[in-house]
Symmetry: none
Amino acid sequence: MTGNLKTVSDIIGASYDTLTRAEKQLAETLLDNYPVSGLVSITALAENARVSTPTVVRMVQKLGFSGFPDFQSRLHQELEETISNPISKHDRWAADAPGTHILNRFADAVVANMRDSLAHISIPDFDRAAAELSNRKKPVYLAGGRITHALADYFFTHLQVIRSGVTLISTNRSTWPQYVLNMRPGNVLVLFDIRRYEQEMETMARIAAERGIFIILFTDTWGSPIVKHAKVVFRLNIEVPSAWDSSVMTLVLVEALIEAVQSANWDSTRERMSDLEELFDTTSLFRRPMRKEKRGKQQN
Amino acid sequence: MTGNLKTVSDIIGASYDTLTRAEKQLAETLLDNYPVSGLVSITALAENARVSTPTVVRMVQKLGFSGFPDFQSRLHQELEETISNPISKHDRWAADAPGTHILNRFADAVVANMRDSLAHISIPDFDRAAAELSNRKKPVYLAGGRITHALADYFFTHLQVIRSGVTLISTNRSTWPQYVLNMRPGNVLVLFDIRRYEQEMETMARIAAERGIFIILFTDTWGSPIVKHAKVVFRLNIEVPSAWDSSVMTLVLVEALIEAVQSANWDSTRERMSDLEELFDTTSLFRRPMRKEKRGKQQN
DNA sequence: TCGCTTCTGAAATTATCTTTTCAAAAAATG
DNA sequence: CATTTTTTGAAAAGATAATTTCAGAAGCGA
């Protein structure tokens, strides 16, 4: 009845053309702020969409559901799956394997994510984040969750080359209060919080926000609870054909920020970089200095 | 009435001590999978929490709400605020994102890299790497350089969930010989070596290769000296409009491998994952253990 | 153990939601 | 333009949810 379409929004999209005027109006309301808008009573939903309740009933039946409760429980289930753990996710993806190699499916998903994510990133937000991170007078702290810690680490490693006053917050949660204690109003806190969201991080964010810390948050499109404490929020598309979420988009943004911060004051960065080069050369056991002055390309 | 506390979960947390046994039980259910679990009918919620509906009513009133509908609409509002659909602010970027902004240039470069890299990756190589990593009898070691360490870390974190016998090699070079000492013929060593290539890593790779270790190498298109020791080499495009090289393509490949390894033996992975979930639930400071099997009933 | 208080859920009651019915309005057709 | 078909919502009917009542259960102090 509902075909092999995965989500309710897919179903709505597929049958959109066959809907009547009032039903289209209702569909718009549902897709706007999806799927939360559908989780209210049929009466409230009808009112929000400015249609009658029978219209709602007729439409959901047209879409293949037995009735409004059936429709709603499907929405509810969808939300639950998307918000919570990765176990249920895998089973969803596994079903629609189109036979192509995982690499290609991955690449497709990543490119699609990139397009969507970029469409929703506010350029002023990006510039503001870059400006905050470029201000050497403001110490920067970075923290990630269980998975995203590696991203915080990556960001940290680069920022550290570019400027001073950068701190990577330990993965050990019990030390977090001490970091917050050291932060001063106007300092910058960069957080990575992708589902499943971590309660401790929200606590840290709330306290930091109360103390006037400027919070930059990397999260997914669902939005972590930290959203309300953050000054700048990057919502990224993280869905890929995997049991896991993808960090690729997050990394793209991190790298773009690194470049923005770096070019904001390139001169002093260049100095720091060559100083660093020298340090590496002298402390390394095996390395012979192999200077390649190609405009400061640095890696590994 | 509800004080100046922000979220429903805050309110629950604040009055947790004053709750009775059945109410605490209900509170657990609500916080578990918050806030979605609270968006069902009072009947379904009571069933999930194994308490009676009057208990639900009494608790929400105790928390300061006028009744269950009031409570639920507050939850709903909260979810709406945090999720906020990106589709709605869809056509904002076209205007204020000129094609020259660093973000767009970055995205273009990444997509181009992806196309080039994928064209050069040998699918059999990918599958072979995945097979080696999927074999639980073969311990896996991972190491990265100064920058790429974060990628090794990311790979490690995921692999560790999927299987046992995974070791992340310390960043401290002087400990490397000890790791090599532990490796046995047939073991797998995953190395990240992007320019500038590190002498110590080549040394480690050479010795490991002599001892019959299966080496999987992630490098750039120029190819690190380790290439000659490795059984599988992934050469990736890493150039972006930045003073730095990009790790995005590397991450894409890592994630694809993670998925390949995971789906290679999904059943045992699933078990490990849910065991892990349980551990997280019990060890976390804020989440309390609460096993409950979900029932199908749900309604607004 | 008793008596008291607090807690809890079954059942009844009340309120609200969901579905159906049906007639009027709108759109399509000849 | 008349007729038919489709769409739509008001209102009634039916189903479910939310609240209240109340008696028994559980905990507590003496």
